[in-house]
């Protein structure tokens, strides 16, 4: 067995025996996210490296501590990419952190081939759980329904079930052409347009509306992008500037994200009406993800989100200690309780980070 894995097994056993907690951490770029981390640090970075990559199989298997940037440049060298366009939020982002946080970038709501969430592209994983078991789920093939799909439940799990050791990800060819269009629309018009366009066979790969300006990214075969651009109108953005724009969106480096007030993320049905909160929203994913800087109380925001059919997360800043995620229904909470009991009965891994008290 690998030395790192053996050491981790010892640490899990020790922590379980002592009743102490381990806080899983890669590059620490997502320290800000989720409920407050507690416990002794378990650094995943020593467990790094590409295990296998076969471009014609569209699969890459990597160890969790591998730098995300390293994986992405390897894929780019073969004309491929991670279809969920993950944010890094800093130079040190690791693949394990990317999967565990489950955050996807602008491509999340693209049409056609890609349904763009981290989960959608996870094919297999190995996990060290709180019982110090090394478990393997899924595999490296595109379709696999053998056993419960624990692999995909690891996306966005924030270490709830244990330490992700290795993941197999489905990758996609990079689009052959991309173009960004710019439109001036108010929020209502932008939402109406985005939802109408998403109902047409158009090669949409990202959208962002803020302060009266809608950016739309098209991606696909050159003729399809050309035809869509002709059909949609708008003003074509310079390619390099567009790339910078979408990178800034992904990394939350634009002016909208630089304010001081807490940053809230609303996940809503794309057709939900505008939030109508002071300061205005930044809208992504065709209307399905909306950002808001606001000092309003959590319960006010959560009630608003629920009334629109979604949920709200305190993404950055604010009163993290009162819980950043929307509380679960009693039925779901009971299932979480029992899952935690099965995978991590001594509450070793990332206690409370995803679900308060668990």
């Amino acid at each position: 067995m690998d030395v790192f894995v053996a050491q981790c097994i010892d640490r899990v056993r020790e922590a379980a025996a002592r009743g102490s907690a381990l806080r899983i951490r890669g590059g620490g770029t997502k320290d800000f996210y989720g409920n407050l981390p507690v416990g002794e640090r378990l650094d995943t970075r020593p467990y790094a490296g590409i295990v296998s990559y076969d471009p014609s199989e569209l699969v890459v298997t990597v160890r969790a501590g591998t730098p995300l940037a390293e994986l992405e440049s390897l894929l780019a060298s073969q004309g491929q990419m991670l279809a969920f366009e993950p944010p890094h939020f800093g130079a040190g982002a690791t693949v394990g952190g990317c999967v565990a946080a489950g955050l996807a970038g602008p491509r999340r709501a693209s049409s056609g081939t890609t349904h763009g969430s981290v989960r959608d592209f996870l094919l297999g994983a190995s996990l060290l759980d709180g019982r110090a078991r090394v478990l393997r789920f899924g595999g490296t093939v595109m379709k696999n329904v053998a056993g419960y799909d624990v692999t995909r439940a690891l996306a966005a799990s924030m270490g709830f079930l244990g330490l992700i050791l290795e993941v197999s990800l489905k990758v996609l060819p990079r689009p052959r052409a991309e173009r960004t269009l710019r439109f001036e629309f108010d929020e209502f018009a932008a939402l109406a347009r985005l939802n109408a366009w998403a109902g047409e066979p158009l090669p949409l790969s990202a959208s962002c509306w803020e302060a009266g300006v809608l950016h739309l990214r098209l991606a696909g075969a050159m003729p399809a992008v050309d035809a869509a651009a002709r059909r949609l109108g708008g003003e074509a953005a310079d390619a390099q500037a567009a790339e910078g724009f979408w990178r800034a969106m992904r990394e939350q480096e634009s002016a909208f994200f630089s304010g001081g007030a807490p940053l809230w993320r609303f996940a809503l049905p794309s057709t939900a009406q505008p939030l109508g909160l002071e300061g205005g929203s930044c809208i992504e994913w065709g209307g399905a993800q909306r950002w808001q800087r606001t000092d309003l109380a959590a319960d006010v925001l959560r009630t608003r989100a629920a009334s629109l059919g979604g949920h709200a997360t305190l993404f950055r800043g604010g009163a993290r200690e009162s819980g950043v995620f929307t509380p679960l229904s009693p039925a779901l909470l009971a299932i979480h309780h029992r899952l935690k009991d099965e995978f991590d009965p001594a509450r070793v891994f990332n206690p409370g980070r995803l679900v308060p008290g668990l």
Binding site: D54, T113, T140, V145, Y148, A153, I335, L339, V355
Partner: protein, 490 residues
């Protein structure tokens, strides 16, 4: 298994009769017999009773009562499953969701449909058609199978290479746990708080919750689709062509292969014009805008030529495209006509091993003395070998089962999985022992307990017991056919 033994539980039946409408509880042998198996007809068992509730409240009551009496419940949709996942329990209640057959809402602007679980797969696309949209996953059984069954099996279809599996096209599942408690997985937004339990429930073969409502996403119908039919002189060439297409950065809308035995089997039935001299035929589809399709068809044709295709034909119109597909989609019925019975397995392997696998299957055909035409989702590496046998001849049945099992073992050995889309059910329990090690199987049992602590919802499927794996291991070592028994199995 002795099918005649049905355990009676008069108290429970009386209680169920009180909560269900008249005619919604079947207990007479002649009424329960149609439910004795699903599409895997090799295993049959009549249930104690069949419940056909029409409301969620009744579903909750049935679950509640069965739990109180400690009686197992097996949910069922249309019964087209191929792995025995819906096989009843002798002392259990079969819970049919067939009467949950209403489309509750089709939301054009939001591109979703909310339906009851007994709605047929194709009916969703039909309801969305006036909006220019459809539900993408299209199992060949789509005229008959239900969305509840699709969710339970994470079903695929010929277009899932590009459009994803059930998992990628379902937003929300509402259901009941064995405790009779309502619960929602996912939601109308693209994610939900907490662990993402939707992927656990999707593909759980009715073992974690009973689905009573599903919200699916609808996608716009592509303006145009065209299909290439390419012939190959060797199955290995066809396998290489699949890898070459994907390697060239092309994700076809569908990429299916049929070997010669399969084309010869279906041609008289479908008149699709398949090249009967070819060792293998690939169907390769492009869809999108007319410009996109023209461009992609050219690129696909280039790659296929470079990969030694001996003949290439591109569908000229929609009628011809549908004709190309007709044979592929009717492969199962054609197999059903060619032999008294057929047995379809479902292993998935890395694409690069398609040629190796097909050669191994040819060798097995000789060893087992049974024919096995192959049709499959080549783009995903998902095999559907159709072992033809005689179900009236016990020896033929035994050889067919052993043949199927060996294909699954070979799939695992090649780095694949025992099931790509049909599920484990009863059928592949043994091979689960080869694919997963004991700790991982134990973790699956833990997942089951977390949703269903009493183990009453569709018990005995998917996850083999420790005991069963030990038996299977002993049997295989004795048979001496376990390659590299010392290696860890994944």
């Amino acid at each position: 298994m002795d099918q005649s033994v049905v355990i009676e539980h008069p108290e429970l039946l009386a209680a169920l009769r009180r909560v269900l409408p008249a005619g919604a509880l079947l207990t007479m042998a002649e009424d329960t017999q149609p439910y004795e198996c699903d599409g895997l007809t090799l295993i049959r068992q009549r249930p104690m009773a069949v419940a056909l509730p029409v409301t969620e409240g009744q579903v909750a009551e049935v679950l509640h009562l069965c739990r109180a009496f400690g009686v197992p419940v097996v949910p069922r949709g249309a019964g087209t499953g191929l792995a025995g996942s819906a096989l009843p329990h002798a002392g259990g209640v079969l819970l049919s969701l067939a009467r949950f057959n209403r489309i509750l809402a089709v939301d054009g602007p939001a591109r979703t449909a909310t339906v009851q679980p007994g709605v047929r797969n194709l009916a969703i696309s039909e309801a969305a058609a006036p909006l220019g949209m459809y539900y993408a996953p299209d199992p060949s059984s789509q005229i008959a199978c239900t969305i509840g069954g699709n969710v339970a099996e994470n079903s695929g279809g010929v277009h899932c290479l590009k459009y994803g599996l059930t998992l990628h096209n379902v937003l929300r599942v509402r259901g009941y746990t064995m405790a009779g408690e309502a619960v929602e997985f996912g939601g109308l937004a693209l994610d939900a708080p907490g662990l993402d339990l939707l992927p656990l429930v999707i593909g759980s073969e009715g073992m974690l919750a009973v689905t009573t409502e599903v919200t699916v996403r609808l996608v716009p119908k592509p303006q145009l689709a065209r299909c290439i039919m390419a012939s190959f002189a060797d199955v290995a060439d066809a396998g290489d062509a699949v890898a070459a297409l994907i390697g060239a950065g092309i994700i076809p809308a569908g990429l299916e292969m049929m070997d010669q035995a399969a084309t010869r089997l279906v041609e008289p039935f479908a008149n699709a014009g398949y090249d009967l001299d070819a060792a293998a035929v690939l169907l390769c589809e492009s869809d999108g805008t007319p410009e996109e399709v023209d461009d992609e068809i050219l690129r696909m044709t280039d790659v296929l030529r470079g990969a030694r295709a001996t003949r290439i034909q591109v569908s000229r119109d929609e009628a011809e495209r549908l004709l190309f597909w007709a044979g592929r989609k009717n492969a199962f019925p054609a197999a059903g006509r060619a032999a008294p019975a057929y047995y379809c397995t479902d292993g998935t392997i890395p694409r690069k091993h398609i040629g190796t696998m097909l050669r191994s299957i040819q060798d097995m055909e000789r060893r087992y003395g049974l024919a096995c035409p192959n049709v499959f989702h080549a783009g995903d590496g998902n095999l559907h070998p159709l072992v033809l046998f005689d179900d009236a001849d016990p020896d033929s049945v035994a050889r067919a089962e052993a043949f199927g099992a060996e294909i699954l073992e070979e799939s695992v050995r090649l780095g694949g999985t025992v099931t790509g889309e049909h599920g484990v059910g009863m059928e592949k329990l043994n091979q689960m022992c080869s694919q997963f090690d004991e700790p991982s199987l134990a973790a699956f049992r833990g997942v089951k307990r977390a949703f269903d602590p009493d183990g009453l919802l569709n018990p005995g499927k998917v996850v083999p017991t420790l005991h069963r794996c030990a038996e299977y291991g002993r049997m295989r070592v004795k048979a001496g056919n376990l390659p590299f028994p010392e290696l860890p199995r994944f």
